[in-house]
């Protein structure tokens, strides 16, 4: 293995100075790819956990918002996201990305109003949020992660 290749694959980090024979090279590659997979999985796992924690915090704040369709939409859709995240497998990067993006968008609608919700907040037009939530449901149900909201049964919620 050339020095450049070893550097590229992170040989030093793994404790290999030189991998000249084919068997060592294969062993190195296997070792490296396993470690890479574990790293990716744990990074995703940590990211999912962090996202769930952010959503939980947002749900807590939403409790103080005036009762309205907007509040129910925010709380209900974020609850959907948390449940979908729990069901995600390690390979579900598409739904994860979509959930993360939806969540960021929803949190952006909450942040400016924490602690000072104007009366008119309940009458703000949340059509865009509603449309994006619709798209998210299509993606999650298509990927087998979570049924669309209208198809969710109480069994789906309580069993999982």
């Amino acid at each position: 293995m050339s020095a450049n290749t070893a550097e590229l694959l992170g040989a030093e980090e793994l404790g290999f100075d030189d991998c000249t024979t084919p068997s060592i090279r294969i062993g190195f590659r296997l070792h490296y790819s396993t470690r890479q997979a574990v790293d990716t999985a744990s990074t995703t796992h940590l990211a999912v956990g962090a996202l769930q924690a952010r959503i939980q915090a947002a749900l807590h704040y939403i409790e103080d918002f005036p009762v309205s369709y907007n509040r129910t939409l925010l709380a209900g859709s974020l609850d959907y996201c948390i449940r979908a995240l729990r069901r995600l497998g390690n390979g579900d990067h598409g739904p994860y990305k979509a959930i993360r993006e939806y969540t960021e968008f929803a949190l952006g609608l909450i942040g400016p109003y924490i602690g000072r919700v104007p009366d008119q907040w309940a009458r703000l037009d949340f059509t865009l949020l509603s449309d994006r939530f619709e798209n998210l449901q299509v993606l999650c149900s298509g990927g087998g992660v979570m049924p669309r909201l209208e198809d969710v049964t109480l069994k789906d919620i309580i069993d999982r």
């Binding site: 369709y69 859709s77 609850d79 109480l154 919620i157 309580i158």
Partner: protein, 211 residues
């Protein structure tokens, strides 16, 4: 019911529309369902069916319909899911939080009913906004009544004495259109005879008086 019959159409206030729309079977599993509905949904649907059979139109105004979809339906759903009987009905453990996702599912179904009736021929949503002079006069009437020694006992201590702007517009529309308002709202009911006598509304018919 007799008081509604002389009119070609009946105006519904926000609560009556909410009762009509609040009918939501929740799927417990593959086959089992539990029906969550407003406490007076059945009554309002029966009255509405009779009015339709008699060839009456049911009406409201845009600002009331918007209030229903923005706020009042969500409030009704929230109150209903806090009911212990409903919580037991869907199988929630005592003290468990009602899942926000399920609350949204129920609300979306009710909003779907609200959209559906707006496309029905027997339900008409009129565009009407009372002028500033009419609104000011109605507000002043309620303020005066709430401090009048002979009338103030009729007002709830828990509600503001002056109705919402949406309700004021509906009262005014009742007068302009010469149509009665079917209502379950205390603001309309406590002052119904005075509103009629002073020409602020044509007729106020409390839901509980209709059989």
């Amino acid at each position: 019911m007799q008081r509604l019959l002389p009119y070609p159409a009946v105006l519904y206030d926000a609560n009556i529309i909410v009762y009509y729309c609040f009918y939501c079977p929740v799927r417990l599993g593959e086959r089992a369902e539990y029906l969550i509905q407003g406490e007076l949904t059945e009554k309002v649907r029966t009255i509405s069916d009779r009015l339709r059979r008699d060839g009456k139109t049911i009406k409201t105004i845009e600002v009331i319909m918007k209030e229903v979809t923005d706020v009042v339906l969500a409030d009704a759903v929230r109150q209903r899911i806090c009911n212990e009987e409903v919580r037991e009905g869907v199988g929630l453990a005592r003290g468990a939080q009602f899942p926000p996702m399920l609350e949204l599912q129920i609300l979306e179904k009710c909003r779907k009913s609200a959209r559906k009736i707006q496309s029905a021929g027997w339900f008409v949503v009129d565009h009407y906004l009372a002028g500033p002079a009419e609104i000011t006069a109605l507000r002043q009437f309620f303020r005066n009544a709430s401090v009048d020694p002979a009338l103030r006992s009729r007002f709830s201590r828990h509600k503001r004495p002056v109705p919402s702007d949406q309700d004021l517009h509906l009262m005014s529309y009742s007068q302009v259109s010469r149509l009665p308002v079917l209502t379950d709202d205390g603001h309309f009911i406590v002052m119904r005879s005075e509103l009629k006598t002073l020409g602020f509304a044509t007729e106020i018919v409390p839901l509980r008086t209709v059989v």
